[in-house]
C-alpha cells in the first residue's frame, strides 16, 4: 500500500512537470470539444491526433491522449443536453433526461450535474484503478505465450457474446482486422505476406492508424454528414457564475446514484466489448430501477444525467486497466493508445510496470490531475461550448478531413497509406450502414501481431500440439470462458425458444 502511494506521488509529480501539465490541460480542452461535437468522440480524437504527439516524449504523449479521452467523456454530455443529440455514442443515455431538462429551461443545471457526476465517476474509478492495477500486473507477470493468446481470444469472445451485434458480422470484423495486421514482412520467416497486386507500399504493412483514422475519421464523418445533413440546432443556455454555483450545491441529491453509476461503469469498462456506452446505459437503467420515483426519469430527473455521466467517465478509466496491465485494450480508444505505445517502443502488459514504472505512474497520476482540470475547464467553458456547437458542420467536416489526411500521412510518410485510409474510410462507412461492427476490427489490427506471435510461440513449444492451451490451468480457464461467452447469445436464444414452446 505504501509503495503504491509512493509511486502515485511520483506519478502526480511527473504529470505536474511544466510540459506535461501544459499538454494535459491542452488535452482536456481538446477532449472536451471533441466530445461535445456531434460525430466526434474520444476514438476519433485520439486516432486523428496521435500522429501529432510524435513531437513530445512518450510519457507526455500518453498524458495528452489520456486527457483527450477523459475530456471527451465530459464533453459528450454537452451536446446531449444542448442539442439533444449525443456528442459521442457514450453520451446516448445522457440525452434521455438531459434533453427534457434543457427544454424545461434547466440546461445549466443539467450541464453542471453532468460535469460534477463525471468528476465523481472519474475520481472513484481512478482510485479503483490505482488499487487494482499493481496486483493485477504482478499476477500477469506469470503469463506465458499460451495465456497471452487465450486472453486475446477471450477479449474477442466478449465482442461475440456481449456486444449485441450480428454475430457472423462481428466474427468477420475481428478476422479481417487480424488479417490486415499480417500484411507486410513476416517477423519470423522474413517473407513478405499478402502483398496485394505487388504494390510496394504493402511491404511495410498496414499501420493500425491508417485503419483507425480511415474508419473513425473519414468513415465517421461521412456517417455524420449523412445523419445531420450538415446542419444541427443548438438549445439556448443561460449560464452565469451564480447559477453554476447554485447547481453545484445540489450535488447531494444525486450523490448516491453517481457512486452507483461509477462502480457499474468501471467494471463494465474493463470488458473489451462493453465499455462506456453499455456501461452508461446500464447505470441509467439501474438508477431508474432503484429510484423511489422511477416515473420522473425521462422527464428531466437530474439523476438520469448523473448516472450515465459518472458511468462513462468511470468506464474510460476502467478500460485502461486491462490495456496497461495485460496488454488487452478495454475499448477501441485504448486499442489506439496501445498501438501508440507500441510505436513509442513500449509494449503494454505486466512488464511495463517493472520496466517503465515512470511511464505507468506518470499516466496514472495524470488521470487524477486531468479529472480535476477537466471539471474546472468544463464549468468555465460552458458558454463557449454552446457557441462552438452552433458552428455549421460544413465548416467542421472539411477541417477534420484535412486533419485525417495529414494524420494518415505522418506515421509512415507515404501517400500509399493515405489512399488506403480513404479506401478504409469509405468501406467502413458502407459496412457500418449494413450493421457490420467496426470496433472489433480496430482492436484486432492492433492485437493481431501480438496474437500471432504468441500463438506461434505456443505451438512451437508444444511441437504443434493444440492441446497445450488446455494443459495450462490459466489458459484453459480463459479458453473455457471464451467459449462460454461466444455461446452465450445462442444459449439465450435457445431459452427463449423453449419458453415460447411452453406457452
Amino acid at each position: 500500500m505504501e509503495a503504491i502511494l509512493e509511486h502515485l506521488f511520483t506519478g502526480i509529480l511527473t504529470s505536474l512537470e511544466p510540459l506535461n501539465l501544459a499538454m494535459l490541460i491542452l488535452g482536456c480542452t481538446v477532449g472536451l470539444f471533441v466530445g461535445a461535437l456531434p460525430g466526434l468522440g474520444s476514438i476519433n480524437g485520439v486516432a486523428i491526433l496521435l500522429p501529432v504527439t510524435f513531437l513530445v516524449p512518450p510519457t507526455t504523449a500518453i498524458i495528452f491522449l489520456a486527457a483527450i479521452y477523459y475530456g471527451a467523456m465530459y464533453g459528450g454530455a454537452v451536446s446531449s443536453i444542448t442539442l439533444g443529440i449525443p456528442g459521442a455514442s457514450t453520451a446516448v443515455a445522457t440525452v434521455f433526461d438531459g434533453r427534457p431538462m434543457a427544454q424545461n429551461g434547466q440546461a445549466d443545471f443539467a450541464l453542471v450535474t453532468a460535469a460534477v457526476a463525471s468528476f465523481i465517476g472519474g475520481t472513484i474509478s481512478v482510485v479503483l484503478f490505482t488499487l487494482f492495477a499493481p496486483p493485477l500486473a504482478a499476477f500477469a507477470l506469470k503469463f506465458g505465450p499460451q495465456e497471452e493468446f487465450t486472453l486475446m481470444v477471450l477479449a474477442f469472445a466478449t465482442f461475440i457474446g456481449l456486444s449485441g451485434d450480428d454475430i457472423p458480422k462481428t466474427v468477420f470484423s475481428i478476422l479481417i482486422g487480424l488479417v490486415l495486421a499480417t500484411v507486410g514482412l513476416d517477423v519470423v520467416s522474413g517473407k513478405p505476406r499478402l502483398i496485394f497486386f505487388d504494390i510496394d507500399g504493402f511491404f511495410h504493412g498496414i499501420n493500425f492508424l491508417v485503419l483507425a483514422i480511415g474508419i473513425y475519421g473519414i468513415g465517421e464523418m461521412l456517417w455524420t454528414l449523412e445523419t445531420t445533413k450538415g446542419d444541427v440546432q443548438a438549445h439556448a443556455v443561460k449560464a452565469t457564475l451564480r447559477s453554476i454555483l447554485r447547481s453545484m450545491s445540489k450535488v447531494r441529491s444525486y450523490f448516491g446514484t453517481t457512486v452507483l453509476g461509477s462502480l457499474i461503469g468501471y467494471f463494465v469498462g474493463i470488458l473489451p466489448a462493453a465499455g462506456a456506452t453499455p456501461g452508461s446505459l446500464m447505470a441509467y437503467g439501474l438508477a431508474k430501477t432503484f429510484s423511489s420515483d422511477p416515473n420522473s426519469f425521462g422527464k428531466g430527473n437530474p439523476k438520469g444525467v448523473a448516472a450515465p455521466e459518472s458511468a462513462n467517465n468511470a468506464a474510460s478509466t476502467g478500460s485502461m486497466l486491462p490495456m496497461l496491465t495485460l496488454g488487452i485494450p478495454g475499448s477501441p480508444t485504448t486499442a489506439i493508445l496501445l498501438g501508440g505505445m507500441i510505436i513509442w517502443g513500449l509494449r503494454p502488459g505486466p512488464l511495463l510496470f517493472v520496466e517503465h514504472e515512470e511511464f505507468v505512474w506518470g499516466l496514472i497520476g495524470s488521470l487524477y490531475i486531468a479529472n480535476f482540470f477537466t471539471l474546472i475547464i468544463n464549468l468555465a467553458f460552458i458558454p463557449i461550448f454552446v457557441r462552438v456547437l452552433s458552428l455549421k458542420f460544413t465548416i467542421l467536416a472539411p477541417m477534420i478531413f484535412i486533419l485525417c489526411v495529414v494524420g494518415g500521412f505522418a506515421p509512415t510518410q507515404t501517400m500509399h497509406d493515405v489512399w488506403l485510409m480513404l479506401l478504409f474510410g469509405v468501406a467502413g462507412y458502407l459496412l457500418r450502414k449494413l450493421n457490420y461492427p467496426v470496433a472489433p476490427m480496430v482492436l484486432a489490427i492492433v492485437l493481431g501481431p501480438l496474437a500471432e506471435q504468441s500463438l506461434r510461440q505456443s505451438l512451437l513449444g508444444s511441437r504443434g500440439d493444440m492441446t497445450i492451451f488446455l494443459q495450462r490451468p490459466l489458459s484453459g480457464l480463459f479458453l473455457g470462458m471464451a467459449v462460454l461467452l461466444a455461446l452465450y447469445p445462442l444459449l439465450i436464444r435457445m431459452r427463449e425458444r423453449l419458453r415460447e414452446r411452453e406457452r
Binding site: P168, R193, F401, I402, V426, K433, L434, L460
Partner: protein
C-alpha cells in the same frame, strides 16, 4: 438499390475477398507445419481468411432465410440526398489526394477548402479564403517546422525553397 440487395452484394464481395486472401496466403508461403520452425508463415492468414469466408457464408445463409434485419428491409440503401452529400465529399477527398501527387498537399488543401466551404457549404468568401490560407500555413509550420515531417509537395516544391530557409 434496396438495403436487402446491398447486403447480398456486400456479403458476396466479402466472400470473394476472403477467397482471394486465402489464395494470396499460399503465394510462396507454407500454410502447413514447417519442421523445427513452427507453423508456416502463411498458416495464420490462411485460416483467418477461411474463417472470414465461413462468416460470410453464414451471413449469406441468414440473408436467404431473411434472418437479419437488413435482409428484410426494402428501403433504399442510400437516399438521393445521402448520395449527393456523401458522394460529393468522397469525390472531393479523392481529388484532394490526387492533387497531392501534382500540385502538392498544401495547394490541394487550399482548393479542397475553397470548394467545400464556398460551393458546398455556402459560406462567405471571407471565411472561405481565411481558412483556405490559414490551414495550409498552420500545417506547414507544424509538420515541417515542429515535427520535421515533410508533407508531399510534388511539382510545387520549388515554391517552398524560401520557406525552408525560414524554418531550417
Amino acid at each position: 438499390m434496396t438495403v436487402r440487395t446491398a447486403e447480398l452484394l456486400v456479403a458476396v464481395l466479402l466472400a470473394i475477398l476472403s477467397i482471394g486472401i486465402m489464395f494470396k496466403s499460399t503465394d510462396g508461403l507454407t500454410i502447413g507445419w514447417v519442421p523445427d520452425a513452427g507453423p508456416g508463415s502463411g498458416a495464420w492468414p490462411f485460416w483467418l481468411s477461411a474463417g472470414m469466408l465461413a462468416s460470410c457464408l453464414v451471413t449469406l445463409a441468414r440473408w436467404f432465410l431473411r434472418q437479419t434485419p437488413e435482409s428484410r428491409s426494402e428501403e433504399p440503401f442510400m437516399t438521393a440526398e445521402t448520395v449527393q452529400i456523401v458522394g460529393i465529399t468522397i469525390a472531393a477527398l479523392f481529388l484532394l489526394l490526387l492533387g497531392t501527387h501534382f500540385i502538392g498537399i498544401y495547394f490541394s488543401i487550399a482548393l479542397f477548402l475553397i470548394f467545400y466551404l464556398r460551393f458546398l457549404g455556402g459560406h462567405s468568401w471571407i471565411l472561405t479564403l481565411f481558412l483556405a490560407l490559414a490551414a495550409p500555413i498552420g500545417l506547414f509550420f507544424f509538420f515541417e517546422g515542429a515535427l520535421i515531417i515533410p508533407l508531399p509537395k510534388a511539382y510545387s516544391e520549388p515554391l517552398f525553397y524560401p520557406l525552408y530557409d525560414l524554418i531550417y
